[in-house]
Amino acid sequence: MVGYQGEEKLSVVNGFEPVIGLEVHAQLATDTKIFCSCRSSYGEPPNTLTCPVCLGLPGALPVLNKKAVEFAMRMILATGGQIQPRSVFARKNYFYPDLPKGYQISQFDKPVGLDGVIKYRLESGEEKVCRLIRIHLEEDAGKSLHPEAGEAYTRVDLNRCGTPLIEIVAHADIRSPQEAYAYLLKLKQILQYTGVCTGDMEKGHLRCDANVSVRPEGQEKFGTRTEVKNMNSFKGVERALNYEITRQIELIRSGGSVTQATLLWDEKRGVAEMMRTKEESHDYRYFPEPDLVNLVVSHDWMEEVRRNLPELPDARAERFVSAYGIREYDAQVLTATRDLADYYEEVVTHAGDPKAASNWVQTELLGVINAAGENIATYKVRPNMLGELISKIGSGELSGKMAKIVFEEMTVSGRKAGEIIKEKGLVQISDDTAILKIIDEILAASPDNVAKYRSGKTNVFGFFVGQVMKATKGQANPEMVNKLLKEKLDG
């Protein structure tokens, strides 16, 4: 079997069309766990965030965290789904050491959310829609820490046990690994905007399983599907899908057929390996969880959650275009995350010029932040500081070039524009008479060049500009210098 080879774009390959359905688990960013009051947190010492309930001790009982339900409701509303007035928790039974009760409390035939869509955009700009089947609530399991060399036992950390999750199950509407990647990016964006999940796939806050099949182009009926698990980055999902699609197509083209199975993606080796076939698949023996009452969502509660829903990324991008007059592409970039969009909007209120703010945020600010790996929400150049700086260009106090110098200094010291300008003496000379005086001196000192200019060799104009700027240590307002020089020489 050939491993994943490269970045080829799969949509229809050798006459076959891939069909992909994604199931995404998102950890809810609640303070506490879903069925007990233990803190829900990542990276604490093993087994310190536990209690009788999440340890599944005999006799302990679950009590549903209202906040977790609200987070699920937000996501359902944000994707245009239907919150179910009555939903039911169910036990999913299987044995594993990191599942201390021997069953996971989940939802089965009566989930809290049905339907909904994710609208997303490919890199080419093409818009796509993926329909959702359902969104349901469940608890996370613990973590098995398998033995390193020389260790005899697998160890179990139950801190994660009982972390609230939603599972977002999509229809098999996705037709290529690139679409899958773009879909996940959009999903993550919505999760982050609504504050439902941090979306950090590397930390396992977001996990994705994929159902994959291929069918001859033009055929309606789906092919036999496999399920691919254990992908731990968005790019990993794309790679794993490319791998599995290629494998299935090769298999069919060489006269074989796909068998229904679950595969585990090995990121390091770039291959997906058989975990179990359909015959070996679990019978989870779902049945209603008798320790919990039905989850009833009143109309009032639903409306309250709807009222408190933040503006979603697509709506925000549209507003940026209409309210700030920036280009759609820029609006997309600036609404990529809620933090960035918030930052931009605050810059605008201080800068007064939304287009200049857009340029500064995208080129200068993001350049520095991305290079330094900084977090925009906590970055030392706060939006009011950047906005003020931009406003000084608008008022003529600073030239664009000077402003960049000031900005650079801000990124080092985190001080405000005013202080830096004062310290460096960076005041733009915008006084007609002052500039004219310098121009007169320079013209007087270079009669040859003046003559050249006047004889039609206007390319010496740049020489005069340079001389003026040099004389003013770059502080002359360049627009005025241009204008006044032209008047003098042409006059």
């Binding site: 001790l57 005999p58 006799g59 069953y103 019978d283 023996r285 049945f287």
Partner: protein, 475 residues
């Protein structure tokens, strides 16, 4: 010296409050009996001596200092060994919970202790509350106090026996399908299964979560009502506990109005011991004489009860008992082999035959392809049973019936015949499935003296009617 074994909980509290005796003396006597007579009966798995004496001393200090004392001050209480009590083994009568010591208290324990009760021990029981004779315990069978070759009933046999023997005036068992009422009947004491959601299940090791109810056992009605009042009510830790405004039971036991009582013909059909029938009939005629009216009623779903129960309860049990896997606590076998071997060996040697039978049954009825035919169908029939009771309770206040078809049977008599054993719960299962309260009242006896209980069943959260009718019969 006061005759401790005959004292009610109310007597004990009164004697301590008036300094006729100290709580420490009472508790020492209870522990002495538990260690001697209790041992003879095999009624206890653990005696909680250290904490019991500390708790007793606290009560004595309160009395001495004139501080107010709780309604169960100094009263020795025994708990079935499936109720979580910090620092003491919680075996559930099973080998698989070998050395499992819970780090937390059941809500029941918290409420008892805040009423100044003293927990003196954890009682023997059928393994994971599965059984009707207390013969399914890893710690061996419990003997019936008055007929040592006979069973005390089950699964709360140790709790019923320790109350009947006079070791404690009060004990708690747990009910899933009759596990308190049936042993109460066999041992000649009072046992009351509350409405589902009446007493918090937090800390009760689950057998079948949708019918499990912690249930009190006593030698008189006032004690039963007092201890229920202390322990009932909504608990934020148990989502299925009900916020009901419980009346002041112990002060409302006298009732002037007459009852309308239903006699369900299905409970007096084939299989009912004539001596048991005679006791129930005598009870009916006494109540008639006192002016209460009786009507014949029909509960046609009654004969489906056992079948429905043995689908729903094992299904829930198969999931509830999955956590006993050798990973975290209790018994572990073959820990150095593959994971699947460890699971298999641990569960094969940790669980007894009856528990394995029910786990397999439950796993089967939940399996894909069988789920609809068994679990779903049983759940629907269960709903019909609930409706049937609801309908009947529009016309009557109470339903009278035998508690069990026979008096206590011999140890070993039914142990090899699971079906016969299951049928001994036929009269108690329906109230459990419907989630309604029912009481077993010691009323008469067989010709050889074996106690016989009469059962009254009431509508949801009408425990008051049960206490009141029991009080009438007591007089």
């Amino acid at each position: 010296m006061l005759d401790y074994k005959k004292m009610s909980a109310t007597d004990i509290r009164e004697a301590i409050a008036t300094r006729k005796v100290t709580a420490v003396e009472i508790v020492q006597e209870s522990i002495r009996l538990a260690k001697t007579e209790g041992k003879e009966l095999n009624a206890f798995v653990t005696i909680c001596e250290d904490k019991a004496l500390t708790q007793a001393k606290v009560v004595d200090d309160k009395v001495k200092s004139g501080a107010p004392i709780g309604s169960l001050a100094g009263v020795p209480i025994a708990l079935k060994d499936n109720i979580s009590y910090t620092d003491y083994l919680c075996s559930c009568g099973s080998h698989i919970l070998d050395k499992y010591v819970p780090p937390y208290d059941a809500t029941l324990v918290t409420r008892l202790l805040s009423a100044d009760a003293v927990i003196i021990g954890k009682t023997n029981m059928d393994e994971f509350a599965m059984g009707s004779s207390n013969e399914n315990s890893y710690y061996g069978p419990v003997k019936n106090p008055r007929f040592p070759d006979r069973v005390p009933g089950g699964s709360s046999g140790g709790s019923a026996a320790s109350v009947a023997q006079g070791i404690v005036p009060l004990a708690f068992g747990s009910e899933t399908g009759g596990s308190v009422r049936q042993p109460a009947s066999f041992c000649g004491v009072y046992g009351m299964k509350p409405s589902y959601g009446g007493i918090s299940r937090y800390g009760l090791v689950a057998f079948a979560s949708s019918t499990d109810q912690i249930s009190p056992i006593a030698r008189n009605v006032a004690d039963l009502a007092t201890v229920f009042k202390v322990t009932c009510g909504r608990d934020p830790r148990d989502s299925t506990s009900v916020a009901f405004d419980h009346p002041d039971y112990p002060n409302r036991l006298e009732r002037k109005e007459k009852f309308t009582i239903g006699i369900p013909r299905e409970y007096f059909a084939e299989g009912l011991d004539p001596e048991v029938n005679a006791v129930v009939q005598k009870c009916i005629s006494e109540l008639k004489k006192a002016g209460h009216s009786f009507i014949d009623i029909s509960l046609p779903m009654t004969d489906k009860g056992v079948a429905v129960y043995y689908i729903v309860a094992p299904a829930e049990a198969s999931a509830n008992l999955a956590r006993f896997d050798g990973v975290k606590y209790g018994l572990r076998k073959s820990g150095d082999k593959e994971l699947a071997d460890m699971y298999g060996d641990t569960r094969a040697s940790g669980f007894g035959a009856e528990v394995k039978r029910r786990i397999m049954l439950g796993t089967y009825v939940l399996s894909s392809g069988y789920y609809d035919a068994y679990y779903i169908k049983a759940s629907k029939v269960r709903e019909l049973m609930r409706c049937e009771f609801e309908e009947v309770f529009r016309a009557v206040d109470l339903i009278i019936s035998p508690t069990a078809p026979t008096p206590a049977f011999r140890i070993g008599e039914k142990i090899d015949d699971p079906l016969a054993m299951y049928l001994s719960d036929a009269y108690t299962i329906p109230a459990s499935l419907a989630g309604i309260p029912a009481i077993s009242i010691p009323y008469g006896s067989a010709s050889d003296g074996r106690p016989i209980g009469v059962q009254f069943t009431a509508g949801g959260f009408n425990e008051l009617a049960l206490f009141q009718v029991a009080k009438m019969m007591e007089q």
